[in-house]
Amino acid sequence: MTDAGATEIPIGSGDDVVRVRQAVREAAGAAKLSLVDQTKIVTAASELARNTLIYGGGGHARVERVDSGLGRAGIRILFADEGPGIPDLDLALTDGWTSGNGLGLGLSGARRLVDEFSLDSAPGAGTRITVVKWGR
């Protein structure tokens, strides 16, 4: 079983970022992640949802429960936008580098908070980021 009902949330405003956090918190609780792991994945989701809104010009998040097949549950979140894309992925993942006026911790920080992180982007082709956090 890899899909126990996914929730899709459009990201078009600051309120939507809050909605993504709430959906992730709910899913992380249902997947029985520890409190610290719940906090980490919700925080990572908040960073990535904000990026989708600000840099991607909006998009959506898809939150779903995943099972490892070895009795471990986790949650997977996809963030997708049709924005300008990221020209230099290595640079974008560097601590402190920002193309906007943030701290440059969004992408790099979010990556540290999750167990799996994949980023698919090209100039003009939008950005898709998938993260997974597993229960211990």
Partner: protein, 126 residues
Amino acid sequence: MERVPVLKIGDILLVSIQIDLQDQSVLNLQEDLADRIVATGARGVIIDITAVEIVDSFIGRMFATIASISRLLDAETIVVGMRPAVAITLVELGLSLGGVRTALDLEKGLRLLGVDGLAAGPRDRR
């Protein structure tokens, strides 16, 4: 847009965050606090985040910004009530909030500001 209320107790301003903060609420709070510090002549600001489940880089930066703004306006800021999971996550995120003073709870925060009536210890102001 929900606004976070700013309460005045003596010469301290108290902000207790009870909502899931969206970025614009955070920016509004920054401005509201700066205005209230000047209007009231408050010498201390306490931000109570006991109810806050996550602090991401934007919200964390807001604490640092508020601390800097209030310092310029002659007030000291103390963030109180951070949950252990939030502290762990913030450090892993890469935000250590070096310039922000913290206390474990409201009572300790008030004591740091030298508020009387709480069996105040020695004034401990940096």
